[in-house]
């Protein structure tokens, strides 16, 4: 045989060279995209670890010469958020007090509504569903003023209860849709079997449907936790000055008019505020993807 290389009998997997034009383009795009998103984060972290003098003279991309955690401590405990100077800590706890009950109540109510819409067709359920669809498309600024009036009537305006109520109400349409579509994808015969077995509305929900729906609960919880944590508008409008959530206090720190701009403290405060949604995504990213996929394909 003249040339062995040219006459190799093909067998097994076809050899694939690593550097094909397609691969180079794909990896190139991925790397550029990653840099684009990582660079601001890098700048924030390095700046937050520098002292003010170093920031003034240095290049913003340079790593810190002298690492200091002073800005972080200040952001958490003593930065001025308007009239008081107690840092972000009170805002953090306010956000926790808003996010936890809002998430629990809205997810629970939405799950039960979605389940009722799919499995217990009641008179007017189609109409109710149409309202929900519409509700999830209406920008909520439209309903801001009416909500202010309602909470004022209920005598909860300017308290945590008002924010919790507003988040629950505005979370309902999209969450109910999410649950409705998920429950509709579960086999109807399961529900029928449970009915024949004598189970009622709540028992079927808690013992049959909910245990099968953990992925979609994860999605809903993640959506609500991050959405409510990141909310600014409802916090400003409904919470009252004592109860401002973390986002509002962050804004007050960053946009405070007096004194020098403490970029390092601002950066630290921003990262602290963003930490909760970030952690939620990191911890539950897999669940999130699985839940989305489960909703899209089937139970």
């Amino acid at each position: 045989m003249a040339s062995i290389a040219a006459t190799i009998e093909p067998f097994g997997p076809r050899p694939r060279p690593f550097f094909t034009p397609t691969r180079i383009i794909i990896y190139g795009i991925i790397i550029v995209a990653a840099l684009y998103y990582m660079l601001p984060l890098y700048v924030m972290i390095t700046t937050s670890l520098k002292g003010l003098p170093e920031i003034r003279v240095g290049n913003i991309f340079a790593p810190p010469l002298e690492v200091t955690f002073e800005p972080w401590v200040k952001a958490w405990t003593s930065a001025c958020t308007g009239l008081t100077c107690n840092g972000l800590a009170p805002g953090f706890w306010n956000s926790v007090k808003i996010t936890l009950p809002s998430t629990i109540v809205s997810v629970f109510v939405a799950a039960v509504s979605g389940y009722a819409l799919v499995n217990w067709r009641f008179k007017g359920s189609e109409f109710f569903f149409t309202c929900l669809l519409l509700g999830s498309f209406i920008p909520y600024q439209v309903m801001l003023y009416p909500m202010v009036m309602i909470t004022a009537q209920l005598k909860i305006f300017g308290t945590l209860w008002a924010v919790i109520l507003v988040h629950t109400v505005f979370g309902m349409p999209i969450l109910t849709l999410l649950f409705r579509n998920y429950f509709a994808s579960l086999p109807q015969e399961l529900f029928k079997a449970a009915r024949v077995d004598g189970a009622g509305f709540w028992r079927i929900f808690f013992q049959i449907m909910a245990p099968m729906s953990l992925p979609i609960f994860a999605v809903a919880i993640i959506l609500q936790v991050t959405g409510i944590w990141n909310d600014f508008l409802f916090g400003v409008v409904f919470a009252g000055t004592q109860n401002y959530p973390m986002t509002v206090q962050l804004n007050n720190i960053v946009n405070s008019a007096q004194g020098v701009r403490e970029y390092n403290v601002n950066m630290a405060a921003t990262i602290l505020t963003a930490a909760v949604p970030l952690i939620v995504y990191f911890v539950s990213g897999k669940w999130f993807v699985r839940g989305i996929a489960a909703g899209a394909v089937k139970g």
Binding site: A193, R195, V196, D197, G198, Q207, M212
Partner: protein
Amino acid sequence: MQSSVSIKDLSLNFGAVQVLKGLDLEVGQGEFIVLLGPSGCGKSTLLNCIAGLLEVSGGQIFIGGKNVTWSEPKDRGIGMVFQSYALYPQMSVERNLSFGLRVAGMPRDEIERRVARAAEILQIQPLLQRKPANLSGGQRQRVAIGRALVRDVDVFLFDEPLSNLDAKLRSDLRVEIKRLHQRLKNTMIYVTHDQIEALTLADRIAIMRGGEIQQLADPHTIYNKPVNLYVAGFIGSPSMNFLQGTLNGATQPMFVAEDGTQVPVSTYAFEAAPQGSSKAVLGVRPEHIVLGDVARTMPFSTEVEIEIVEPMGSDTLAWTRIAGQPVTFRADSDVLLHVGQKVLVGFDPARGSIFDAQSTNRL
């Protein structure tokens, strides 16, 4: 016979669509009834109405002599088995079986006794601690049957329980369901679109079409005396041969095919003696056409040419033409047939069916 399930003038609409149209059905105590019909004819809908999973639009349902038209499913004394098994995925087999009993608040030892009995009958004791995901299709369907079994009900409802299984398993489980029925002697209402299941299992078959029962009779009658063209064509595989022609009523009634071929039908048992002359269809099952010398003894025989031969193993199916119209017949697999061969075939119209071409009803 005392009736176990009795359905009176039942109708059901989905919006403007009328799915069940004034349907009547009497099911005797311990009877095995099969509802047979093509997909979409309303079989599942009827079963769901009996189970109480769908609210009826009109009519009444009695189970065990009690009017259950407004009762909850659990109060109707029924157990139901679904095509997709519908096992609760997060519960073990044992908890799947006991769920309904736990809901009813039955004492622990009674639950254990019933689960053990069902597991013994269905031979699923080794599977009790498994989750449904770790069972094969056949095992899942046994568990689903078990869930109906533990409820100790009078009436079992099956909605195409074997349709998701492969052919071998299907015939195994079919025999098991028959054995179960012989042992328990419950009333069973079984929905299927598979005529083999219907013919093998049923005491009586209800042939459904478009939300109405076309014929309700034992398998032998359904097969041999179909009430109309639809039933005749639906039951039997390969299906019945139909010859178009005219029926001339006289002292010696004669069926004249479209090409003029005459078939004497005086042996046929008419519902009413035919009068005058009218368009008709003569139906003959492929297995009732005989081949060779015996054909000569039949009231009708003719020489035909074989067009296609399909060996089926147990027998051979041959395609040919009688009176210019396509006809299939079954021959013993030992009779070697080949294309182009001229053979003598014949049949006795007494074993066939004659339908009015206009009304499609049996004459």
